[in-house]
């Protein structure tokens, strides 16, 4: 990882009240616009979301007064909520664990020397740069019951006898969507780990070889521990991304049939825009937000950001 310099000068304190005020306000000139933009577009919606979760909103968007905690009561008495929550947990844990394990291998591969490595790295980048929505749509098409290439290949290989309507069955649909989620998450995770690998000095491996450590032992006792920070950061960012992932499910099953493949994100969206119940949807959003907040706190601890900036 590129190291950041610490050549930061401390302003020399000077006398004079006007000067002091000016020096206290000077930063605002530079960082003010950023604060305003974040306040208006990020913080305001947070406040608006919490406020909405306590209001009665008509389907046309009019505020019809306060509802107290009624939106939350409604939400928690939704028959599908527990299933959706559990499914979200499986979705996040499954996708992230698979992504991290696979990306360890992928990063090693991308770090190894072989002809054409540059092109392979570029190929791995493609799902990262491409719109996740469009990637999900091509997977949906490839999984098509009648004309999808996945069924064609599996039938021709004799794995299945006749085409399977993969996305119509909740469990199969869920597994395929997790597959797509892993597919689009792998590039980022692998490149973070690759960056971690490149910081390991070659002498470490030479020393291990001199000590007679085999390939396997070297990997588990030297490489992996040194990758810990990279792994940690990649996992947490991955957890947050996967938790928030909307386009995959929206494009492939829209959470259906019914709520059978919904995660909390698509569930929230459907309450707002299918059931026209913005208040209850906001309650779901607040619950989601609280969960992410916990993840962010974990991230802050892991990233030791304070040491970084000072």
């Amino acid at each position: 990882m590129r190291s950041r310099g610490t050549g930061v000068a401390t302003p020399v304190p000077r006398a004079g009240a006007a000067r002091r005020i000016r020096s206290a306000l000077a930063p605002l000139l530079w960082i003010g616009p950023a604060i305003v933009l974040i306040a208006v577009v990020v913080l305001w919606p947070v406040v608006e979301m919490v406020r909405t979760s306590l209001l009665k909103i008509s389907s046309s968007g009019l505020t019809l007064g306060s509802r107290g905690a009624q939106n939350y009561t409604d939400l928690f008495s939704e028959g599908d909520l527990v299933d959706v929550m559990l499914r979200t947990l499986v979705w996040v844990v499954g996708v992230v664990v698979a992504t991290m394990v696979l990306s360890l291998g992928l990063a090693q591969l991308l770090n190894a020397r072989f002809p054409g490595r540059r092109v392979v790295r570029w190929a791995v980048i493609v799902p990262w740069a491409a719109s996740v929505l469009m990637t999900s749509l091509i997977w949906k098409w490839m999984l098509d019951n009648y004309f999808g290439v996945v069924n064609e290949v599996l039938v021709d290989l004799g794995v299945i006898d006749k085409p399977v309507n993969w996305l119509a069955h909740p469990t199969q649909a869920m597994l395929w969507m997790m597959w797509v989620a892993v597919f689009v998450s792998l590039p980022f995770a692998s490149f973070v780990i690759l960056a971690g690998l490149q910081t390991v000095p070659g002498e470490v491996y030479e020393a291990a070889r001199v000590d007679g450590a085999g390939t396997f032992r070297t990997y588990f006792q030297i490489t992996l521990p040194l990758l810990r920070p990279a792994l940690l950061i990649a996992s947490i960012i991955n957890v947050i991304n996967v938790f928030n992932s909307f386009p995959i499910i929206w494009a492939m099953t829209q959470g259906g049939p019914g709520h059978a493949t919904d995660t909390t994100t698509t569930f929230m969206y459907k309450i707002a825009f299918f059931d026209q119940n913005v208040g209850e949807s906001a309650a779901m959003a607040v619950v989601n937000f609280a969960l992410i907040l916990v993840l962010v706190l974990l991230y802050l601890r892991a990233s030791r950001w304070r040491e970084e900036v000072s």
């Binding site: 616009p33 909405t52 770090n111 719109s131 009648y146 910081t199 707002a272 937000f289 990233s303």
Partner: protein, 293 residues
């Protein structure tokens, strides 16, 4: 597969020069084969996109790996089949304007926090870091309600603002990193040579941190170009929808133009993939906020 490639890859990568230099080792052949297969795996869905985009419409509803006739005219016809020019224009305006706003806001903030210590500096950097963790998805209901109360639903301005704000943290971080790594003395030298503060910034600091600036620009542009959920939520008129929202309407219960859907997808994907490849090696530092050392 993972473990295998891991154990295969390691010794080759760190082999000291001269050691074990056979003609062409079996290990290297296998490694190369696996590498290329993995590369193919990641582009395969996009190749299938291309194959589908080139099929004549009647062949879509027939099982065949490849089209009998490569219908390159699909890439021409798609512009007539739907007003995707308009949607592309929206995507371009939103992504372009969001990038401009982000850069104008991020540059001074990143520069100042890299060069000065002041009260609230840590609080500001914490705010940036926390914001980076919040995707618009988590806040979409709040964003929607805000845009309703500001009367900004179905406007490009709302999309520009949202994309600018959510990409700001990454830009601030990566630029902050670049500015911090440039010795202050370099700038002071220019300053002493009679250049003003602004001139020192534009003539000395900015050129050196150009990779960071380019990375920030490309990353924001692609992020805004690919943004989906907010655009889906706040826009309703077809002529104000970006490509991501417009594309799925090629396939509805009334029509199934998968070939056009994927032709348009490729038109949207190919340019950003090329842009992304240019900034690949600078990306990780900004994304992980320098926490991996």
């Amino acid at each position: 597969m993972t473990q295998q490639s891991a154990t295969v890859a390691r010794p080759v990568a760190n082999r000291p020069a001269g050691a074990r230099r056979g003609p062409v080792s079996v290990r290297k052949v296998i490694l190369t084969g696996v590498g290329w297969l993995v590369g193919l795996f990641f582009v395969a869905p996009y190749l299938e996109m291309l194959v589908t985009a080139l099929k004549p419409e009647h062949e879509l509803m027939r099982s065949s790996y490849l089209p009998s006739k490569w219908n390159w005219s699909n890439f021409v016809d798609v512009w007539k089949a739907a007003p995707i020019w308009q949607n592309m224009k929206v995507s371009l305006i939103v992504a372009g304007a969001a990038t401009l706003v982000t850069l104008l806001v991020a540059l001074p903030a990143a520069y100042y926090t890299a060069r000065n210590r002041f009260r609230g500096r840590n609080a500001f950097l914490l705010l940036i870091l926390v914001t980076q963790m919040f995707a618009p998805t988590a806040l979409v209901i709040g964003i929607y309600r805000e845009m309703v109360s500001l009367n900004l639903t179905d406007t490009l301005l709302s999309l520009i603002l949202v994309n600018a704000a959510f990409n700001l943290p990454f830009c601030v971080w990566i630029l902050h990193g670049y500015f911090s790594s440039i010795p202050k003395e370099l700038e002071e030298a220019a300053f002493l040579d009679g250049a003003g503060r602004v001139k020192a910034l534009t003539r000395v600091t900015l050129p050196i941190s150009l990779p960071g600036v380019v990375t920030a620009i490309v990353y924001t542009f692609i992020g805004a170009w690919n943004e989906y959920i907010v655009a889906l939520t706040v826009t309703s008129s077809p002529n104000r929808q970006p490509l991501t929202v417009a594309i799925p309407s090629f396939v509805t219960q009334y029509q199934e133009h998968w070939q056009y859907l994927f032709a348009t997808s490729l038109i949207a994907i190919v340019p950003v993939v090329i842009l992304f490849i240019f900034i690949e090696r600078y990306l990780i530092g900004g994304l992980t906020a320098g926490s991996v050392k």
